[in-house]
Structure formats: structure tokens, C-alpha cells
Symmetry: C2
Subunit: 353 residues, 2 copies
């Protein structure tokens, strides 16, 4: 049903559907391999993971599939914050911590060698596909991974970022439209100017680069898949569509929130991590509004709110959790990943015929 494409060949998959490498425990080995075994590309969201945990999870994945799969990592940034700035954010977060009965974080911890160690594991484990968010890695890392035969996918939110990804040697690029849930992949230019809707972004990117374009943002079903390919993409990447599935490691409150919300209820916020991301509006986001200028840069802010998000899940207080979601929550489903994948493919097939 799909025209044989460069992307299918490149990724060694049957259907041009990639499950996004969402960080924070969503992408369990069961989810990743359900997608890969169904003929798509499952992706481990390893952005926040320690190298040892990545190694173990990759081995779990390999035990569950012989198919192609990917690992997503975050190109790091190392911002600085003064004691005073950290103190100010801790002051803003104190009411939440009080309500949850947890104590202050002393200092945001950032492991400066995390990324390099993650890359080491990816090479060691001969991961078939490696995708990047939040930037493009150094040329020597790119060359290193390519020398191992690892296929590289970058992320772009504008035409310019897509061109940069091509110039730096990425094999394909995800074009992330403004509908997308979770963090913006923007790494060049301002966040606000890089909120381009998928309908606009895909054809304009496809016209300007030669490597395969993978559409992301608002795509949940066979209609979105087909539409993306009509717009000039060779494949799609779906995040929110898989957050709610049985195998997803997302917190139950997160799944329920997506399954029961409307397209008007998501909002862009930097309050959780210091970087703009789309999630379902809740009390944490609302109470942090107006303090945008006080937030620490990513990933410092993320480190400081981690305890709150974790404890909120334990205490079943979704109003303090980060409930990432794209703009199409009305199309979400709670079935198994294989069932969701199959229904997407079947619908795309019906549209084709």
C-alpha cells in the first residue's frame, strides 16, 4: 500500500510510521517493540536516561524484537543560574512542595557528560537508528555514529532548521509542527516564531531539502498519515497517539487526561522544564503564569520541578503533573499499541484505495 520510499529503506521498516521517542518513562520496551513488530519504528525516549539504564533497556528491546528500532537523545545545553535565581524559583515552587509535603531541592543537578555517555552506549549496542532533539550534535559525533552504520534523524521546527540538519549530515529530519505535544525541538531562532502549523511546515520544508521529511504534530490516525504524505513527507512521527496505549509507561493520570480532554485545553508552557512544551492546562501551569521571566533555563528548571511532578503522580494529583499532549486529543485511543498501529494503517489504506 505504500510506495517503496527512501525512508522505508533507510529505516528498514514496512510502514512509514515512527513512534516518537518520548522521554520520562513513556516508551517502555513493550511499547517500542509493539510498534517495531507491527512494521513501524519504535523509539526509546532516552533523553533523560542514565547510560546503564539505556543499555539495559536496549537489551530488553532486543529480546522482544528483531526489527529495527530507534533511540532518541537530547543534544545538551549547559545554562548557568545564580544562587539567587535558583532561590527565586525554589520560592515559586515552595507552595506546591508544601501542598505535597515534600522538601526543597537544594540545587539543580546537571550531568555534563550524560550525552557523550549516552552516545557511547548507542554505538556499543549498535542501535539501528538514533534521533536527536534540541539541536544537532558536533560533527565528530555525527561522523562517529555514521561510521558505525547508525542512521541519524534530526528534528526541525522551521525550514532553516531543516536545512541545517541536512547540511550537518542527518539522514532524515522530523519536521515538528506547532500542534505537537511535549517539548518544542526549536534550536535556532526564537520559540514563538517557530510555531509553524504542520499544514504549512511540511510542504515548505519538503521544497527546500533533499533528505526524507518525517511529519510530526497533530497526527493521530490514518487521515493524518495520508495527509502528511500528500504534503510531501515520506513518513510520520506520532507521540500523543501512543501515550495513551496499554504498553505506554505514561502515568495513568496522564493517559486519562489525554483521553478526556478537548483540542482547546492544551497550552504552551515553560513552567515545568524551562523550555516551551505543549501540555494540558492545569493548576501548576496556571499558577506559574506571569513568572516566565523567573524560570531557569532548560534543563535546570526541569531538575527543580522533578520532585513535584513525581510526588504529584504518587499522590494522584494530576493538577501538578506535566500532562504533555498534542492538539488532537479527541482522536486518542486506549487500545494496545498494536491495535492502534493497525487501525492507523487500515485507515490510511482505505483512504488510498
Amino acid at each position: 500500500m505504500w510506495t517503496q520510499s527512501r525512508l522505508l529503506e533507510l529505516l528498514n521498516i514496512h510502514h512509514p510510521i515512527i513512534q516518537a521517542g518520548m522521554a520520562g518513562g513513556v516508551t517502555t520496551p513493550e511499547l517500542v517493540t509493539a510498534v517495531s513488530n507491527a512494521g513501524g519504528l519504535g523509539t526509546l525516549g532516552a533523553g533523560y536516561m542514565e547510560p546503564e539504564a539505556i543499555r539495559k533497556t536496549i537489551q530488553d528491546i532486543k529480546n522482544l524484537t528483531r526489527r529495527s528500532f530507534g533511540v532518541n537523545v537530547f543534544v545538551p545545553e549547559f545554562p548557568y543560574a545564580t544562587e539567587k535565581e535558583i532561590g527565586r524559583v525554589n520560592q515559586l515552587l515552595a507552595p506546591f512542595r508544601n501542598e505535597l509535603g515534600i522538601k526543597d531541592e537544594t540545587k539543580p543537578q546537571v550531568d555534563e557528560s550524560l550525552f557523550e555517555n549516552q552516545i557511547m552506549i548507542i554505538k556499543e549496542q549498535h542501535v539501528p537508528i538514533c534521533s536527536f532533539t534540541f539541536g544537532i550534535p558536533d560533527k565528530d559525533i555525527i561522523q562517529d555514529l555514521k561510521d558505525e552504520g547508525i542512521v541519524l534523524i534530526g528534528t526541525a521546527t522551521t525550514v532553516e532548521e531543516a536545512i541545517l540538519n541536512e547540511q550537518y549530515g542527518m539522514d532524515a529530519v522530523v519536521a515538528q509542527g506547532s500542534e505537537a505535544g511535549g517539548h518544542r525541538g526549536t534550536f535556532s531562532g526564537s520559540y514563538s516564531q517557530s510555531m509553524i502549523g504542520t499544514m504549512s511546515l511540511i510542504p515548505q520544508v519538503a521544497d527546500q531539502i533533499s533528505i526524507p521529511v518525517i511529519a510530526a504534530g497533530g497526527i493521530m490516525d490514518g487521515r493524518g498519515v495520508r495527509a502528511s504524505m500528500v504534503l510531501g513527507a515520506e513518513g510520520v512521527q506520532l507521540g500523543t497517539a501512543f501515550v495513551t496505549c496499554k504498553e505506554s509507561g505514561a502515568k495513568p493520570q496522564h493517559k486519562e487526561a489525554i483521553l478526556h480532554t478537548k483540542e482547546t485545553e492544551t497550552v504552551m508552557t515553560s513552567s515545568f522544564s524551562g523550555k516551551p512544551a505543549r501540555g494540558i492546562r492545569n493548576a501548576f501551569i496556571e499558577r506559574m503564569e506571569g513568572y516566565e521571566n523567573d524560570l531557569l533555563d532548560y534543563p535546570l528548571q526541569n531538575t527543580l520541578t522533578k520532585g513535584i511532578r513525581k510526588e504529584a503522580a504518587v499522590q494522584n494529583r494530576s493538577e501538578f503533573m506535566s500532562l504533555w499532549s498534542g492538539q488532537s486529543p479527541r482522536l486518542s485511543q486506549s487500545e494496545s499499541a498494536a491495535d492502534i498501529f493497525q487501525s492507523i494503517v487500515s485507515q490510511a489504506k482505505r483512504i488510498n484505495s
Copy 2:
């Protein structure tokens, strides 16, 4: 090449492509009729027009085509502003007026019977299609127009607004995604929560209403047309794609700006009219940033900035003009409306086959 659809029948057209009823002189009789004669639906943007001018223009249109065409009008709102509030905006606008050498507006003038008089002309002239922006008219007006056999199209930016349009008896609804240029059609709920990308909006709307959905926002070529129909729309409405064509009455500076800008250069602003609209960022928008709370409500703000926009065009100072554009300016073309229309249809046809 198109499956015969309810929309084609309803609008009595051959291709499911509507030229948006852009106000402010863009939609000349030549543009409207070029689109209608090509088999689409040309639309006169009559939102700001006096009844007598509408009558004359409709007669010009009828002299140029025997095909179906539409007239778009704005459902009115009547905000109030104190002398002090008006004075404050005049103070903000003074530097622009000084630079242009024009004098202060004394008071914003709003003709409270404009809409009713526009509707009278539409009935009198037996206009085939009437479309509405900024709301849904009273039930008696809807009934009145329907009794005349006039087909009615509403505008929605959310699922809820689409459902309201259906409930009030609209025959079809334009679902306007966040990529769209010019004013947001939002009339229920907040503007910021109603910025839904076209990729997300169309399928979610199509799932919830029974009347035909017309996709708008970021659509410029055959790819966008086909993608929209795959997503569940029966047709599309294109604005920016026709602003730059030969027959368009847009100011030359406006056309040039769209033809030479990038997808990252548009921005949402209320500074020109008091209502959020997407246009190309320029000095007027930048210098008005931070004064959002001082702006008068639409249409009062629009009235106060009119002289500036008009004189800026005369003096060739595009930095003070409203350069409305959607998020796909890289796909804009300067050919005749018929050529642009034909290239859209041909491309859609190629994708189909």
C-alpha cells in the same frame, strides 16, 4: 477528478476551492470572477464595505461571470470605549501619525446598522452564497437568507464553534486553523486557546458535525487541497494564495512582502484592529508590543489605525501597513488568479492519480 460531493452541489461549483472573502479591497470583481470562472468559488470580502458599494460591486461581478460566487460579511460587535481609553490609544498612535504627517483621529466611528444594511443588499441581489466571520448572525437573519435560497457558510476555529454553526443552521462551515493569515474567526472561547493547527482541527471537526467542512489555514497548493480532503474536509478556502495574484486589489507592498518573506516572519497581533490577526512582523507591530492591554476592542482599534494604514500605503512605508499573511508564504505566486487556480487543480490531480 473530484468525487461529486455535497459541497460542490451546495455551492454549485466544479472544484472545491473557495477564495476567501478578504476585506479591505483585496477581492476585486476581477479576482472574484477569475476564481468563479475557473470553477471555484470567488468571494467578495464585504466586511467593511458600505451597502451601496456592495451593490455596485456585485453588479460588476455579475457582469463578469454567470457562475456562483459568495459575499463575506462580519457579524458585528459593539464594544464601548471611554474618552480616556480612546485618548490613550491616540497617544500611542501619535508617533506613527507624526512620521506620516497626518492628524489625529477624533473618535472611532462605528456604523451600528452596517451589518443589517449589508444583509439587505445580499438579499436584494440574490447573492448565491453568503459567508460569515466573527460569529453567527441572529436566527431571524439566518431564516431570512435561507428563505431567499441563499446558501450560508459559517466560520469556526474550534470544534465547539463548528458545532454551534451547525446548530444555528449554517449549510457548511470553514474550519480555520492557526496557520491562517488575517483575522481569527474565533467567537466563542478565548483567542489563545483557539489557535488549533489545521492538521489537528480538520479531523476533529469533521468527526463532530454533519455539514460539510471547508479547511482553511496554510493551504496554498494542490498538496494542501488534497491533504485537507484526506483529513475530512470537503473543500478548502484559500486567502493568502490569492492575495499575491495579478487581479488582487492588495497593495503592491503587501503582495511584495508575502512573496519575499519566510514562514517564521508572521506573527499574531491585535495592534491594527483590536482583534488577533496573523500578519508579517513589521515596525508597527513591534512598536505596539507591550501595549496589548491599552488597545481598544475591535472594531474601534481598527477605525483608529485606518488613517495610518492608508497613508503608509500612499507613502510606500510598508512598516506601518497591515501585511496579513498565513504561515506558508514560501508557496506564494504572483501569476494571474486563473493560472494559480489552474496550477493548484493540476497539482491536486497529479497527487490523486
